[in-house]
Symmetry: C2
Subunit: 221 residues, 2 copies
DNA sequence: GTCTATATGTGGATAGAC
DNA sequence: GTCTATCCACATATAGAC
């Protein structure tokens, strides 16, 4: 429980001020980006006073950090836990690529499904944050991701002993990109593809597609 | 020659006002995002008068559109040309997945290398634009990409007859994500991976890695 | 076409009453 | 902790001289 993780209660309008701000900010940041979202928009929708943001968080920048800290740490913790679980299970033998990618991708799904869908919004916000340089979030991401990168890199190196480490790092980079974009641009696909195929489907199906795509990519010679 | 495509002359400080604005805007939008980049920053660096932006473009929004129109149309035209060239060559027989992905990815490289590296900056900006909703650029992207999507989808469907069309669309979506992120987040990899592996390399090598990764992904069962 | 000056709005942040 | 009122920096945009 890091920073006022919201209760699962459906009537969120009775939450405390701090929690309401976090929840609305999360959504608006996702919809409009960080700099295009004003504190007035946030406090307006959250029906709290403008000054309360600075009272509770100190600054807009600090609010952004708080939004991230609330979800990112648990998400990456879950990823590490899943990986550890698999490694214990196999007792030193290398995991399969499928298992590793699955641990990475499906942790996101699990977090998204928890908390009655609120986590899903964060996933999409996370996608945006990776490509948003003007928010100071990037350095935060680096810290939060460093353990995950290290551990997954090691696991993948064991699973793919013929692949140079450099290649593995790049492919992980591609994986982050695919994940980020898939989450953030879920609405872009309709714009781009302009076909009735890829319609709003449940995240589970999409992530299974992603996993298959990524596993094949990692296994490329 | 759509909107003042810059000359290849190295001393750009002698360009005309409109061209200088476009060039600086392109870079600053990429570095800071659209809404975080003010016209003052642009005109300051371009050493032109503030009012000249509105004189030449009408508004900031129109400037953003101009920046995109300058490069995106030629890029996608190149992609279509490459695809057509291959199809003519094969006379009706399906292309290989490698050829198709290569036509898509390497057109970007070719454009990036042209114009003494200026195009590269645009590629990274393009990556940002996909995940930046607050700029009205998205609908522009949809229009500019629609032909490319249609043609490449058809080619891929012929190359992968066993793959449902829906799956193809999704994998194209993943491809866009990988490309967008790879271009935009080239600096993020150092933050994230915190290892000496993936260092500033030439774009060509990186795009070859991407291509291999993507081809394998598309070929996944 | 280019400049100065300015109109007009909105941003984040804060002081101080309650 | 919450509110009103306000400060001040900076945004886009434009009017009008040159």
């Amino acid at each position: 429980m890091i920073l006022g993780t919201p209760s699962l209660s459906p009537d969120r309008e009775h939450q405390d001020t701090k929690g309401r701000i976090l929840e609305v900010a999360e959504r608006l940041f996702m919809e409009h980006g960080f700099s295009a979202t004003s504190l007035r928009m946030i406090t307006g929708e959250a029906k709290v006073n403008l000054a309360s943001v600075n009272y509770h968080f100190g600054s807009k920048e600090a609010l952004i950090e708080a939004v991230f800290n609330r979800w990112l740490a648990p998400l990456n913790q879950e990823r590490l836990t899943q990986l550890s679980r698999l490694e214990t299970q196999k007792e030193g033998e290398p995991l399969t690529v499928e298992q590793i990618i699955d641990a990475f991708v499906m942790s996101a799904l699990r977090m998204g499904e928890d908390h009655s869908g609120t986590g899903m919004i964060f996933l999409r916000l996370l996608g945006r944050a990776f490509s948003d340089p003007g928010s100071g979030v990037r350095s935060l991401l680096a810290k939060q991701y460093s353990d995950v990168v290290t551990r997954f890199k090691r696991a993948l190196a064991k699973a793919l002993p013929n692949l140079p480490e450099e290649e593995i790092v790049w492919r992980m980079h591609f994986m982050f990109g695919t994940m980020a974009y898939t989450n953030a641009g879920m609405d872009a696909i309709q714009l781009i593809s302009s076909c009735n195929a890829a319609n709003p489907q449940d995240q589970a199906t999409i992530l299974k597609r992603v996993t298959k795509f990524l596993v094949a990519g990692f296994k490329a010679p």
